[in-house]
């Protein structure tokens, strides 16, 4: 079971109060996790990555096991702690003024 932590506004959009737990089949990558997340919560499509290009939105960051994975290739295998569910895959909105 993959654990996913979403930022406040995206939890509101998806109408959930806590972290998400999803079954993800095949390789566990940023790409497959987000595919599974958007399939379960389609209202999140386009909020984390662009609808068309699938590029990460500029003010969104990905973290796992204390590491910033935002610039890693989206098809790279994620750490074993994410695959085992020991650690969550964290999606954050970057801190910016305004």
């Amino acid at each position: 079971m993959i654990r996913i932590v979403l930022p406040y506004h995206l939890r509101n959009l998806a109408k959930i109060n806590s972290e998400v737990q999803l079954e993800v089949s095949g390789d566990i990558t940023t790409h497959t996790i987000l595919n599974a997340l958007e399939a379960r919560y389609p209202m999140l499509a386009g909020t984390i990555r662009d609808h068309i290009t699938q590029e990460r939105r500029p003010y969104v960051r990905y973290y796992a096991c204390g590491e910033d994975l935002s610039l890693e290739p989206p098809d790279a295998q994620l750490p074993p702690q994410i695959i085992s569910g020991e650690e969550p895959f964290v999606i954050l909105g970057a801190i910016a003024g305004g």
Binding site: H9, L13, A39, P42, M43, A45, I48, H51, G93, A96
Partner: protein
Amino acid sequence: MSKVQVLVGTKKGAFILTSDSKRANWDVSGPFFAGWEIYHMKGSPVDPNRIYVSQTSGWFGQIIQRSDDGGKTWFQPGFKPGDSTTTPEGMPVTESNKFAYDTSDAGGKPLSTHEYFDGTQRPWEFKRVWHLEPSLTDPDTVYAGVEDAALFKTIDGGKSWKELSGLRGHSTGSKWAPGAGGMGLHTIILDPKNKNRIYIAISAAGVFRTDDAGKTWSAINKGLSSQTMPDPNAEVGHCVHRIAMHPSRPEVLYMQKHWDVMRSNNSGDSWQEVSDNLPSDFGFVIDVHAHEPETIYVIPIKSDSEHFPPDGKLRVYRSRTGGNNWEALTKGLPQKDCYVNILREAMAVDTLDLCGIYFGTTGGQVYASADGGDNWNAIVQNLPPVYSVEVQILK
């Protein structure tokens, strides 16, 4: 007794202000969608309980919200509470937030780049919905004006959107450039007497008209002159801020341009300046009295770099002659030390016998006049900066 409902979009959420037809006492509900920018919210003319909202964020992109009960509850089209969000195969059931530019052969493969501030060509890139214009006849049909400038349409109540790509495919498309606020399509006017005619305006490209329901478009900017352009009288490139029309006389259009207040008597084929005695002819809003097609309103702003009223005096100007001969309306408005702005989407009129006029400021006030502009009151204060104001009369 009729109920008046004012829909207010702000930088940090949406608010709904309600009153009876006297418009003396107002209740405030909200914020809805707190923390998000609400560029626009507007009700369907044929079903006032149907309200569409553009909810946007620099972080998380574009969301379309809808209410079917006059703003009591909200949902993203295609996601009614309790509905399954996926098909049995696990596929999303809706694409209500997806605004994909049409690049197909069938869509005419519109130009893929436009001019940027520095003169280079940049690809079209969707950023947000600036304006939602519900159909005059069908609550499920809505037009959306977006940044980067394009026009989209839904016919299923916002569940899915399709570009009317003939606009972006106009021969001048590569010359369109962003205004200071971005390259937004901000005005959509549907002709109540001709279902195939739509007017739109883009900052900074100008005004365009279709007479075939959006398949083909004409640039209608003859008579506009913009000193900030290399050719002040060019076919496109004008920073039009807002257009207004009275439904009884759709061939007459009024315009607040970056500088200059303009009028057209021939559906935009040509324009004449009607700024006359305004203290500044820079501004953003313009609107028409609900029952007097020759009575129009603007709010002068000092200049393109000083976005506040001249002399610190917040004054609405009214012309009863369809332009020119402007009179200042000041009763109830601050006449000293006022340095707010009024953005292009932030003025509306109601249709009660004594026409109500409303506008919102970047200082978070919404002012209303229940007598055509003679007297004003702040009906709410201290909201976040106001982006848009619309008004509904509910029977």
